[in-house]
Structure formats: C-alpha cells, structure tokens
Point group: C2
Chain length 399, copies 2
C-alpha cells in the first residue's frame, strides 16, 4: 500500500509541537524560537560522534555515568554549590521527571501542594496520577512559610511542587532565606519538595539563590533540571538530584527496571558538548539574546502603559531570568475575555487563570519572550497593550 | 569541587544496564549482544545527518510524521498488512508504552489479564500503577479463548496484555484463527487488547501470522512495536498503533501534552536509516545470526538431553523467532533451586517461576541466545544441562 500524496504532505508537516494560530504573534508560547536552536552545534557534534556501544545498548538505570560526571563538572560552578554525580539520575526532561515523581513518590488520591499560580501543564500530569492539587499563596519572595506549614498539617501532601527560580508564570524567585525555611518545614512535617529548576541557568542579571540541591542532605528535596530551555527540548534529556532513599524509590520505576536508563542515545552527544564547552557557550549566547529581548519587551510595555510600572493600571516586574513577563491588570478585569480581541488584531497571550488550580488570577496574563525575535515581540506587545487599554477604558466607562 | 579519581572511575564504568554476574555465561539475559549493535551504521548515519530544526524542538505529540511515514513504508511489506501512519504514535519503546497504556487506559485497582507465563518486567510496570495482574492459561496456539472469555466476564479487565508472537518467555506464537477469536471476544466484552509485538520482525522461518494491527478497525487493539530488538535498545524509540478514540486517550497523557512528542531527537536519524534500507538490512543480518544461534543451541540441547526433544525428560520446542528457548524439566523439579549450582559452574538462566504471576512454572527455565555468541551459547548450555541432569538424577534417587 503506497501512502497517498495528500497524506504524505500532511505527515511531512507534522514534526513540531504547535501552539500558535497562523498569522498571530502568540506571546503565550513558552518554547524556544526555532531560529535559536543550536543546529550547527549539533551538526558538528554528530559529525564527529564516536558512537560508543553503550549509546545503543540498554542503559544503566540511573543514566550514563559519563553524562552525570560531565553534568556535575559543568553545573557545580554555575549552580555555585557542589553537584554530586552519584546522587543524580538522568531523565527524559522535566515533564517525564514530574510524571516519575508522581508514580514513585505519591499514591492516587494524595495531595500535591503547588504555588498558585503554577505551570499549568504540570497539573495535567498530576491529574494522570489521580493526585489532588492544592494551590498555595506566594509573595515576591516565593511560597509563604506560614501558609505552607498550615497546608502541610492540613493536607499531609505526598510532595510540594515548586518552581523556585524565575517561576512560570510569574517570574518570581524564592529567596535563599525562604528556601531554607521551606526545606525545614517540609522536613519537620515529613513531606518532600519537588523543585522544578528548569529556568535556573537562564539568568540575565545577578545570580539567583542556590538551587534546592544545596539542601540535598536534608533528604527531602528532589531537584529537576533539563536541557529543554538551555540546549534543545527535542533531546528529552534532563537530570534529577535527590538523596537516598528517595533516589532509590525513583530508580525503582518499572519502566527503568524494564527498559533501562532513559535516553542512552542522546547522552554521549551531550556529554561531548558539555566537555568541549559548546553547551555552556550556547547557553551564554541564549542568555544575552534573551536579556536583550527583556529590554525590548520592557520598553514596549512602558511605551504602552506608561513609565510607572508599579503604580499604573497595568503593573509588572522586569524578569531577571527565565521566559516570562507577568502582567497584572486592574482587579476585576478578565484577561481570558480580552484574548480573542487581541487575537483578532494579530497577537495572543496566556490568560492568568490558566495557571491557577482555583481559576484565580483572571486579571493577569503571561507574555513570553522566548519564541519571537525583537521586532515581533515589540509588535505583539503593542497589539496586546492596545487591546488591554481599550478593555480597561471600556470597563471604566461601563462600555 | 573536583570529582575524586576513584569516583570518576566508578562513574565511567556506569553506562549499560547490567544483569550478569562476572565470569558467568548468563543465558537469562534478554538483551542484544554488545558486539552485534550497529555502531558503524549509526556512525555513518550521524556523520551525514541533516539536523532539521524540528529534531531539536518540542516534537508534535503523536511523534514525527516523517518517521511515522517511513515506518509505515517499511512495516507494510514486513507485516504483510497495510500500516497506517495516521493511526500511529511514536513511543520511547515498549516499556514506556506499557506504562503509558496503564496511565491512560486503566485506573488503579483495575485488573490486567496476562498470559501465564509472561514478561516479568511488565508486571513491575503494572504494579507501579496499582493494577492487579491475573494470569491466563495458554497452549501452543496462544491464549485459550474459553478461559479468556470467562476471565473477561469475571474480572472486567482494563485490558489484556499479550505477547502474541515468539512470546517471552515461551516462544509461543498465537495462531491467526486464535487472534481473530481473541479480538472478537475482547470487543464483545468491552475491553482492550494491548499486544506487545516486540519480537514479530525477528522470524527465522516461515512468516508469523499478521500482527494485531491487522485488526485495528475493531477499535479494541493497541499494538506496541519497538526498535529495541531490531536496531538498538538505547534509542528508546518505538511505535504504538491504535484506532480512535483509543489513540486520542494515549495522546492525552500529561507528559506528551507538556513535553511534546517522545524522542524527536532520535527520529530523523532512524527515518534516514529506514529510508535508505540500512535498518532493514541490519534486521536481516540479525535474523540470520540468530537463526544460526538457534541451530547451535538446539544441537547443544540435543547433545545434552538426547534427540527425543518431545519425549525425553527435558523438552523444548525449537523457536522460530524471537530470543528464547523454554525448557520444561520433569514435574516437581525446581529450576530456581538448580540455578545457584549452575552459577557455581559458570552459567545461568531465568527460572520459570519468575514469569508467572502465581509463581507457577517452577519446573521450567528460559534460555536466551541474544546476548552471547555461538561458542558461549554451546558452553553455557553444556553447563546448565549437566547441572539439570544431576538434579534430575538426584531427585530420582532421592539424593
């Protein structure tokens, strides 16, 4: 049976995950821009790849020791804390690692505590495992210890899921003092902390506080890192740091026991790119590109909403890392209702309520600067700002 | 912090999943031999790889359409039935695909029906999801329809898990008539059939009956295929065939929605190896090597246990595909108790009870010819046969 030509054409176009609508600058997309992907770096790495036999064999359950060693060497100076390759396992990226935490560290019906707002697609993974998600309040230093402690007592969660640095969607970074307090509370109440540190290495100013792996000895933290935002999401390659016995629980996942370690195939290629400096050089290039985009977006927002970022009707903080601006419109505004009007004019965003387990934050919206270049970012912000301003005016005049 | 040299040496040795004990020919290992892995084929494919941008981006949830098209083109003549690239999704191999079926097609507490004996590591995955595993009797044509129907009525399983062709551990192939009857029964009783077709393409004689994807229109079959046994397990790359709406349920898995399709990175490399014939040429080379090993092992078994394979004390059938010989010792013998004596002499096997949800088949054992070359296979069989023969003699004389 030969596949018909129209089916062939359709299949040939089905390669990447697609979020956008054609002709719309969708600042809701939290993916890296195609044009920024390190195609040349990978072409060079693969052209000279050695192809060791273990790359093709069932991998060791904890993941290639050579990759873990290269990661420890590369991360230690960047994290500012010693990274222990023997308390690390290789993952298929953070989405799979979250899935894996749900499977091995929780039971159906258990509670997971999350920041409200949080990464909305993590909630889809929690739902797969029958976990109940409860949101916790935050301030500009991260999770609020008092509210966290009350929830630990009330809900006895399987774990707390946090995005501690340059968080999705708010850009908030949990302060070092707050981190220490959170670890202490979680240890005292016998729970675990799953820290999704996907944006940690994407800093554009001062270095953020140490990642939670600095508290590995507490025995209660599980730290998830990934190459998705710093090298290539298509790799499906990441790392998980935890102390025993939590590490052993994770490695006991049935798919690891059966299929061996995750992603032996990509490991040696990335190991080589870490060892020869290619990966970190690319990361630093990304950081400088994103830092410039933050400036462009900040300027465009100030042009549109006025210089009084904190005092105006629409407020935001300039992100110091990560992927996102988080805008707060006046209370009572509904960003989801505004979105179709923006789309009609050619731009889109993620409404805030998407990120809230309770549907809160309806007056907020998330803009990403990862997927578009500077010109599109400025144009997208202008369109969104016009639409938002009209909606605010209409609300004020009862229109 | 520099990693100490002794830790470096330890990490550098942690690359592949290890099952064997040093100095022991372990015919229990169900992995391909390192020496057979297609290192040169991959070196060539990677040296000339194009690195399309989508290889590095979040992949489309169903998996790269170009790989699905190349798979459909390659599988259609080999399967002898039309393979529909639009009713296929790309997996991380069959272990992950089983995990995925558990997550999306079952709920904790549900029953899964399996052949008794079955692949023991699948049971670890079912356990991760809180599923109850119930074994069904088989004969040399596969699952027994009457017993299957009774179990479908009694247990109302989420799905039936089967290894229909050159099964692990018995080597049994379900006949075409039996397949049709099984599909009809499962459809009538509102369940699903998850067919793990990992060994289908590894045939050494007549072509096996069509894989279960021939019954895709029934809406009740989910067929799992993988490159693990025919190209390289380290790829963590496979394919799942199903009809809507089951396909949509699988694609709704939270990790796919969040992280995109599985393994965009390996996909274009394997697509190229399918398109230029490298992958199928390698498969055919493997088939001829394994066919020769079957002959060597069969000869060694006959030399040890006598020519009357079916009438002797130890019986087996010569496998027509797959990885395994399944030996039956006299009733009452305990293969697990014999194993340490074989190990002490330098050879090992998988005791039959490992494969039984109820701990049955204690008098059976599984030998694989995948991991060792002909000389080691003959030597391993001789050691095991000596140990088994001594145990039979001792039992007969009450020793």
């Amino acid at each position: 049976m030969r596949i018909p030509d129209d089916v062939r054409a359709r299949l040939a176009s089905q390669t990447s995950q697609l979020w956008g609508e054609p002709g719309v600058i969708d600042l809701g997309i939290g993916q890296p821009q195609d044009a920024l992907l390190p195609v040349e770096e990978f072409r060079r790495a693969m052209a000279s790849a050695a192809v060791p036999r273990f790359q093709l064999q069932y991998g060791i359950e904890r993941g290639d020791g050579l990759l873990r060693m290269a990661l420890a060497d590369a991360l230690t100076p960047r994290y500012g804390v010693p990274v222990d390759a023997e308390r690390m396992i290789i993952s298929n990226g953070n989405s799979q690692a979250i899935d894996w935490c749900c499977a091995t560290l929780a039971h159906p019906g258990d509670v997971v505590l999350v920041e409200d707002p949080t990464y909305f697609l993590a909630r889809a993974i929690f739902a797969d495992h029958g976990l109940r998600v409860i949101g916790l309040p935050t301030d500009d230093q991260g999770l609020l210890p008092d509210a966290l402690e009350q929830a630990l007592i009330t809900h006895r969660p399987a774990f707390v899921y946090t995005i501690p640095t340059f968080a999705n969607p708010t850009g908030t970074t949990t302060s070092a003092d707050r981190r220490a307090a959170i670890v202490e509370l979680i240890a005292r109440h016998g729970s675990l902390l799953v820290a999704d540190e996907v944006y940690h290495l994407l800093s554009y100013g001062a270095a953020p506080p140490p990642p939670y792996c600095a508290w590995l000895d507490s025995g209660v933290v599980v730290c998830l890192g990934t190459f998705s935002k710093i090298l290539a999401p298509g790799l499906r390659l990441g790392w998980v740091q935890a102390a025993e016995p939590t590490l052993a629980r994770l490695v006991g996942h049935g798919t690891l026991v059966s299929g061996g370690g995750l992603n032996p195939f990509a490991a040696p290629i990335v190991t080589a790119m870490l060892q020869d400096g290619t990966a970190l050089a690319y990361l630093d290039r990304l950081r400088s590109i994103y830092a410039a985009r933050v400036g462009v977006m900040d300027d465009a927002l100030r042009d549109a909403f006025g210089p009084e970022r904190a005092g105006g009707e629409v407020t935001w903080r300039t992100p110091e890392g990560g992927y996102f601006f988080w805008l707060q419109l006046p209370a009572g505004m509904d960003a989801a209702a505004i979105r179709p009007h923006a789309v009609a004019r050619g731009a889109a965003f993620q409404p805030g309520a998407t990120f809230s387990p309770d549907g809160g934050f309806g007056h907020c919206l998330r803009l990403s600067f990862a997927y578009y270049g500077e010109e599109d970012l400025a144009r997208g912000v202008r369109i969104i700002a016009e639409t938002v301003t009209e909606a605010i005016t209409a609300a004020a005049t009862g229109g």
